[in-house]
């Protein structure tokens, strides 16, 4: 199974971290990550849709239309948008429970995501999964998973299956920085590197595992060095900059498709909301000042400013785009609200598949 890698692993570090980048750099030069104006508009639209959609999620949660746990992605949209804009429809995506934004960026319909959050029959998981378990086979979206780190070995398994079939797809696996301390992460990275599996492991480092700061959870906060422990290429990027995300992804994708090698990427970001809807945005574990400072680097604002300054977007066009995002979120809400609850006979379906081969 295993073959010796010919290349030594590289440890790259972006010059600018999540803090301190003013966002006014020109897009990086990597060819595959280059964008046209039209593509930049699409990136902005994708991020704005996630933002407006999740703002409605918060509202729906407060109204009791969404129950259980509801973890919002607000502030991290450049990562989902940047990553999804670089991969192919036949690639696979798997993620943790903060999954709405990634699902939307992947192309899962806003209606089916909102209906799932509302626990309705037309939800992408039939109302059986809820916020943490968005699944959509049509877009190879392999779920939202609710146990920290538990899905990371599953991503390696998807990579194994790609290799088994001699395919050239890849699997992208998202998780938070708190997952790097759990055994499943380490076991998965070792296997992915040992067996040369085409998996891109993305640490979304939003600095807090629930309410615990990375400095209080992780002996070496420089999480990307963990790639080296598994002879894997690793790179840290500014996760608030959609172009930096795309640029970094272009290298990881090439590595996965051509060298059949995995990559670990740390995307430095910040969570603008609480861990879930049931906790305060700031308070005991982080200050309001810290939050406000980081909100200055809102990924949507950064892209908007860049396009605005480059004359690629007028304020009017921005408002129009925003209105469209709001309209889509409203349509999703209306659809979800009108969708029936799952029929009671659905209680016992899907426990077992009734087929065999």
């Amino acid at each position: 199974m295993s073959t010796e890698a010919k290349r030594p692993p590289t440890q790259k570090r972006a010059e600018k971290g999540a803090a301190g980048n003013n966002g006014s750099d020109a897009p990086p030069a990597n060819d595959a990550a280059q964008t046209t104006v039209e593509q930049r508009r699409e990136l902005l639209h994708s991020m704005m849709l996630q933002r407006r959609f999740e703002e409605r999620c918060a509202e729906a949660y407060a109204l009791g239309k969404i129950g259980g746990f509801c973890h919002l992605y607000i502030g991290q949209e450049a990562i989902s948008t940047g990553v999804m804009s670089m991969i192919r429809p036949d690639d696979y995506v798997i993620t943790a429970y903060r999954d709405h934004g990634q699902a939307l960026a992947r192309g899962v319909t806003p209606r089916s995501v909102m209906a799932e959050l509302f626990g309705r029959a037309d939800g992408c998981s039939g109302g059986k999964g809820g916020s943490m378990h968005i699944f959509d086979a049509k877009t190879n979206f392999l779920g939202g998973h609710g146990i920290v780190g538990g899905h990371v070995p599953i991503a390696a398994g998807v990579g194994f299956a790609i290799k088994y079939r001699r395919g050239n797809q890849l699997c992208v696996c998202f998780f938070g920085e708190a997952a790097v301390n759990i055994g499943a992460f380490h076991e998965a990275l070792n296997l992915a590197s040992l067996w040369d599996l085409p998996v891109i492991f993305i640490i979304e480092n939003n600095r807090y595992g629930m309410g615990t700061a990375i400095s209080r959870s992780t002996a070496n906060e420089d999480v990307i060095v963990r790639a080296k422990g598994y002879r894997m290429d690793g790179e840290s990027v500014d996760g608030q900059d959609v172009f930096a995300v795309r640029d970094c992804m272009s290298r990881a994708i090439e590595r996965a498709r051509k060298e059949k090698r995995p990559t670990l990427i740390e995307m430095r970001t910040y969570r603008f909301m609480g861990h879930s809807m049931s906790d305060a945005v700031s308070g005991t574990y982080r200050t309001k000042d810290e939050l406000e400072e980081n909100m200055k680097r809102d990924p949507i604002l950064l892209l908007h400013n860049r396009m605005f300054e480059a004359g690629e977007l007028t304020e009017g066009e921005m408002h129009k785009m925003d209105d469209e995002a709001k309209a889509i979120a409203q349509d999703a809400w209306d659809f979800a609200d009108a969708s029936p609850e799952p029929a009671l006979d659905q209680l016992y379906t899907d426990v077992y598949a009734d087929t065999s081969s």
Binding site: G129, G150, H151, G157, S357
Partner: protein, 326 residues
């Protein structure tokens, strides 16, 4: 019918299904070059190559998750645990991932996979290596749990498990690998969820599964010499469980003993007794008794280990008690 060992019966099942379907693969510790810790996969690496017979590091959580991921996108993994004691490190993938994937995805992602390996106590392996896990996994909706006691059932159930589109926990008996029995020639499938009446008698029902099925058959043969004839209901599968077979037997004999390898509290016997009291309340002539491991971690010393395990003598005592013969 050929007489083969339980081990060879399992190897036959693996070989036949690997030949039949090229999406089937086997992974686990020492399954390939070493030919398997218990030699169940002997010769398979040579026949099927390293992509399908996959040696893993000692990383149960990791490779169980790899199996789940591969099953999600259409392969049919067979994940071998060197023993089920080690599988506790991987239980998140079995319980939280494999068992629930179909349900929480609203039917979108099937889990056609098998987790298999030796279960239960062998000899003097002490506390951490001598445990029977079937009641743990039988508790979980979404899993199927097979506990074959004979070579024929081992082969037939493993083939059915590999072909099943659901995650199957397949518990082999470490002490059974060398036992022999007749296995039907040619294609041999045993349906999951169907018990087998291994001995027939009118005086008492012994309901059992796994390694204890052998003990129960021995007990039946011994008691027959005393003129006591018992039904041995070998469940073979503990999820789904064949309630009809249990009821049929108890309604005939009016007495029952449940014999299992695991512990008493929340053991398989607790569930079987619950079925009996619901289905056979008016049929019973005596309270149902249970025979199981003593409620202690398995000790190492020979005499203590013997005292802790369920055995034929304990089963016979229970049978005589429900027959009011003691």
């Amino acid at each position: 019918m050929a007489v083969v060992t339980y081990r060879d019966a399992l190897t036959q099942a693996l070989r036949e299904e690997l030949q039949r379907d090229d999406t089937v693969f086997l992974m686990g510790e020492e399954v390939a070059q070493y030919n398997g810790a218990y030699k169940v996969s002997k010769g398979l690496l040579d026949e099927f190559g390293p992509m399908r017979i996959v040696d893993t590091p000692i990383t149960e959580l990791g490779f169980a998750g790899v199996g789940v991921g591969a099953a999600m996108v259409g392969l049919r993994p067979i994940v071998e645990f060197m023993t089920w004691n080690f599988a506790l490190l991987a239980i998140d993938e079995v319980v939280n991932a494999a068992a629930k994937m179909l349900y929480m995805s609203g039917g979108q992602y099937k889990m056609p996979m098998v987790f298999r390996g030796p279960n239960g106590a062998a000899l003097q392996l002490s506390a951490q290596h001598s445990q029977a896990w079937e009641s743990w996994f039988a508790h979980i909706p979404g899993l199927k749990v097979c506990t074959p006691g004979t070579p024929a059932d081992a082969k037939g159930l493993l083939k059915s498990a590999i072909r099943d589109d659901n995650p199957v926990v397949f518990l082999e008996g470490e002490m059974l690998y060398n036992t022999k029995g007749e296995v039907p020639d040619g294609e041999h499938l045993v349906p999951i969820g169907v018990a087998d009446l291994k001995r027939e008698g009118d005086h008492c029902s012994v309901i059992t599964h796994g390694k204890m099925a052998l003990v129960a058959m021995r007990v039946a043969d011994d008691l027959a010499k005393e003129g006591i004839n018992i039904d041995v209901v070998d469940l073979r599968t503990v999820r789904p469980i064949d309630v009809e077979a249990i009821a049929r037997s108890v309604q005939k004999t009016n007495r029952a003993v449940v014999l299992e390898e695991g512990w008493e509290i929340c053991g398989m016997g607790s569930q079987v007794v619950d079925f009996i009291q619901r289905e056979c309340f008016d049929d019973l002539d005596a309270p149902v008794l249970r025979v199981h491991q003593e409620d202690v971690p398995m000790p190492y010393a020979k005499n203590l280990e013997r005292a802790a395990k369920p055995d034929a003598a304990k089963a016979i005592a229970a049978i005589k008690k429900v027959m009011y013969l003691d």
